[in-house]
């Protein structure tokens, strides 16, 4: 099967999954699809919501791509996302002054990368020094991260009034600029697209990225050729965490402006199907993140008119992963290599 047929099949499959999910929820297909479409692309505000959701998904998706390409199944995007935002919030509270302007924004974004990377470094250390599978450690660290968030927003980081478990809002000067003050869309989307191009160049045009992919495909080969395999694994998991953390920082500085318990919204988990749908390719992540972003925005609209709610996104997310696994089974069945 060639790549075009595969792409077409993927698109049809995703549409079919959407329709089947609607059927399962007992919703009228035509009306629901139109509500979803309206919510995602109906007017400039809908577009803005879609792209606003797309932005953190791109960044987290890229984070997943890097780790998985290195053979480390990082499913801790959620925790790294949270820790990135937490680190940003800490710096905003104690270090970065509102008067810093652009330098302040830059500092907070750097903080989010650092936060995510350090969180992932725990899993990386466990993997390399203790042989703990990254799947397990990153997954479990998600729950720790969420507890940490809840502690922080009702403890050290809580707002000055101490009424609601959330942080104070960021100063307006430290927020990412918006294209339209009333809408969600902010300049973080530009950052995300640039990072995607950067990750593409890194993975496919640099020696370092090439070594990373060799390690991911077969670490034995990397070792036999004296690549610093452990260092590469450590670095790639930190890089992955850094990007997921950046997503958290961008979400904080671009959309919410404060941290509360409901901050993460499972975007870090959603990043996994985003990366898989993109075939672990950084540029396709742009498209698949857009699909899930649109679905998110669309189903929010659907939720306000029907009882389905945004649960639908998660149902579709799950179904899409299963569908992709199935598709892989069909297209990547190992060809029997002749007489070897």
């Amino acid at each position: 099967m060639n790549r075009h047929a595969q792409a077409a099949l993927t698109v049809c499959g995703l549409l079919a999954i959407l329709i089947l999910s609607l059927l399962a929820f007992g919703l009228p297909i035509g009306k629901s699809l139109s509500l979803i479409f309206q919510g995602a692309f109906g007017d400039p505000y809908a577009w803005s919501r879609t792209l606003g959701k797309t932005t953190p998904l791109i960044l987290c998706g890229l984070g997943v791509v890097i780790a998985w390409r290195a053979g480390l199944y990082n499913i801790g995007g959620e925790g790294q996302f949270v820790l990135g935002a937490l680190m940003s919030a800490c710096w905003a509270k104690w270090l970065v002054m509102p008067g810093w302007g652009y330098a302040g924004i830059l500092a907070l974004l750097v903080a989010s990368c650092v936060g995510g990377a350090l969180w992932a470094a725990i899993a990386a250390w466990l993997y390399i020094k203790r042989g703990v599978e990254a799947v397990i450690s990153t997954l479990l660290l998600n729950f720790v991260a969420i507890q940490l968030l809840e502690y922080a927003v009702s403890g050290p980081l809580q707002e000055a009034k101490r009424q609601v478990p959330q942080t104070d809002g960021l100063a307006e000067t430290l927020m990412l600029a918006k294209f339209n003050p009333q809408a969600d869309l902010h300049y973080g989307v530009v950052v995300a697209v640039l990072v995607a191009v950067g990750v593409f160049i890194y993975l496919f045009r640099t020696k370092d990225g090439f070594r990373l992919r060799v390690v991911g495909d077969n670490p034995n080969v990397a070792r036999a050729n004296r690549f610093p395999t452990s260092a590469i694994q450590f670095r790639s998991l930190m890089l992955s965490g850094g990007l997921c953390g950046l997503a958290g920082g961008v979400e904080l500085l671009g959309i919410t402006g404060y941290l509360g318990k409901g901050f993460p919204q499972q975007l870090g988990f959603l990043a996994i199907p985003v990366a898989l749908l993109a075939g672990l390719h950084p540029l396709w992540v742009l498209l698949s993140a857009f699909y899930f972003g649109a679905l998110f925005a669309g189903t929010q609209n659907l939720a306000s008119f029907t009882p389905a709610g945004t649960t639908l996104v998660y149902v579709i997310q799950g179904a899409a992963v299963l569908g992709l696994v199935g598709l892989r089974y069909w297209t990547r069945r190992p060809r029997r290599s002749e007489a070897d």
Partner: protein
């Protein structure tokens, strides 16, 4: 007994089998010969039901058997011993034997009862199994014995062996041959795929040769010569590589009382002393698992072994390494041919600027390598796993030798390769030697050692046993 009639099978555009017919008699050892990609394995898989041919029929005692149903074939008495074993590594020997006896996944299971018959068969063949030990702890040779017993326990009338000797030591090969003969005497039809003509001449009663998916010839072994067989297989006679006397240079790799630790911290190499001069090939032979791999890895700089020195005009040469198993240590199978070549090309400063890879330059360089080393591939972007074993090995050899290494460490470079690919790899190693490379050749194949090395050591339990000159008394092919 078993007859194949006009069988054809294609994989995509590749015609693996093209109108092949052959008859396999009871009480006969029938060798099927051919190069990599000649269709031998495909034919065996069709006969044992693992592949459904596009057309043609397989007859057992004149009756057509169901095609593409391995379970039915086994029930009818066609057993197969696979090249890549079909054992569950984490199961015990008894559990593996019992697994082969189960006709359904339902119901209770009692491995000691179900494996009893297989165990008694093993006893008749003169083998003793420790039924309670885990398969992953056993040597490759023992694993193969389990495979054979598994196949026999199904009351097999026809037994198909897919390259059984490729993984065995010389002693194990002799034992296997003894068993093959006793199977023949018991009236079974034995079908054997083999690469080495000397083995075929020693054991087979009849040969069939395939070339590029087509039937070339069948004949009783008494009527053919090695030269004739080689010509049938390849189409023309390969030229034997001629070795000139060694012309050693000044640089030397010196090991003094070298100790190397294995994976579990055991002392795998116990104080080895030797030297390898520039421009010579030093062979390391011996039965698998006596510390060769650990010594090779230490020489290649992958394992701690502090007592290696480089003397003479050298300033610490970077060793180039051709590892033992191309699929687990040699290739990133999910990546393209070009990328697999680049694994060796990263050190080449012409292929990158700063941290960046020069994509165009790499393409040109890879195409050039593919051309000079005659790697059979349609496109440099093809996935490495889609290549045949010989071509996979060529990727590794080409990217390693392209660097013109001063010191080369090679482990079993031709295991599982056909005549032509073997010749080719040998020639390249000899060329490296002519060019002044110091070569450490680890091989379990005596023919290979006597053909290539200037001096040979043998390893036994981590110690270097004796040093011999080239041309030890192994029968050449």
């Amino acid at each position: 007994m078993l007859e194949v009639r006009n069988v054809a099978k294609s994989f995509g555009p590749l015609r693996a089998l093209d109108d092949v017919s052959a008859v396999f008699q009871a009480g006969e050892i029938h060798a099927v010969l051919g190069e990599n990609g000649a269709g031998k394995s495909t034919l065996m898989h069709v006969m044992a039901g693992f592949l459904k041919p596009d057309s043609g029929a397989v007859l057992l005692r004149g009756l057509p058997i169901p095609l593409g149903s391995p379970f039915e074939c086994r029930r009818l008495g066609i057993g197969m011993v696979h090249q890549h074993f079909t054992l569950v590594p984490n199961f015990t020997v008894a559990e593996n034997l019992a697994l082969a006896q189960m006709d359904s996944l339902n119901g209770p299971m009692n491995p000691s009862v179900e494996s009893a018959k297989a165990a008694s068969i093993a006893e008749k063949l003169g083998w003793e199994f420790d039924l309670g030990s885990r398969v992953s702890d056993l040597s490759v040779g023992s694993q193969q014995r389990i495979e054979i017993v598994k196949a026999l326990a199904g009351e097999a009338k026809v037994l198909i062996f897919d390259e059984p000797t490729a993984v065995l030591t010389p002693d194990e090969v002799l034992d296997l041959f003894r068993v093959l003969k006793s199977l023949k005497e018991a009236g079974k039809a034995v079908v054997l795929i083999a690469h080495k003509l000397s083995e075929v001449m020693a054991i087979a009663d009849r040969v069939t040769v395939l070339r590029r998916g087509r039937w070339v010839a069948s004949a009783p072994i008494g009527d053919v010569s090695v030269a004739q067989l080689a010509e049938w297989m390849v189409g023309e006679l390969p030229e034997a590589s001629v070795k000139t006397p060694a012309n050693p240079g000044n640089g030397r790799v010196v090991a003094q009382n070298l100790r190397v630790l294995g994976d579990r911290g055991e002392v795998a190499v116990k104080g080895a002393s030797f030297e390898i001069r520039q421009g010579e090939i030093v062979g390391f032979g011996g039965v698998d698992g006596n510390g060769q791999v650990q010594l090779a890895e230490a020489l290649a700089g992958l394992r701690e072994g502090k007592v290696i020195q480089f003397e003479g005009i050298w300033a610490n040469p970077e060793p180039a390494y051709i590892p033992q198993d191309r699929q687990t240590h040699g290739l990133a199978l999910g990546m393209s041919v070009e990328e697999n070549l680049l694994i060796g090309g990263l050190a080449n400063s012409e292929l990158s600027t700063g941290p960046f890879i020069k994509v165009k330059e790499v393409q040109r360089w890879a195409t050039n390598l593919i051309h000079t080393f005659a790697i059979k591939v349609e496109n440099a972007s093809d996935i490495a796993s889609s290549l045949s074993g010989g071509n996979q090995q060529k990727i590794i050899v080409s990217r390693t030798l392209d660097r013109r290494p001063e010191f080369l460490v090679v482990v079993n470079p031709t295991r599982g390769l056909d005549i032509r690919a073997t010749e080719y790899v040998h020639e390249k190693i000899l060329q490296a030697r002519e060019g002044g490379t110091a070569v450490a050749l680890f091989s379990t194949d005596l023919d290979e050692l006597s053909l290539l090395s200037d001096r040979t050591y043998f390893m036994s339990r981590g110690q270097l046993m004796e040093s011999m000159n080239a041309g030890l008394g192994a029968s050449g092919t």
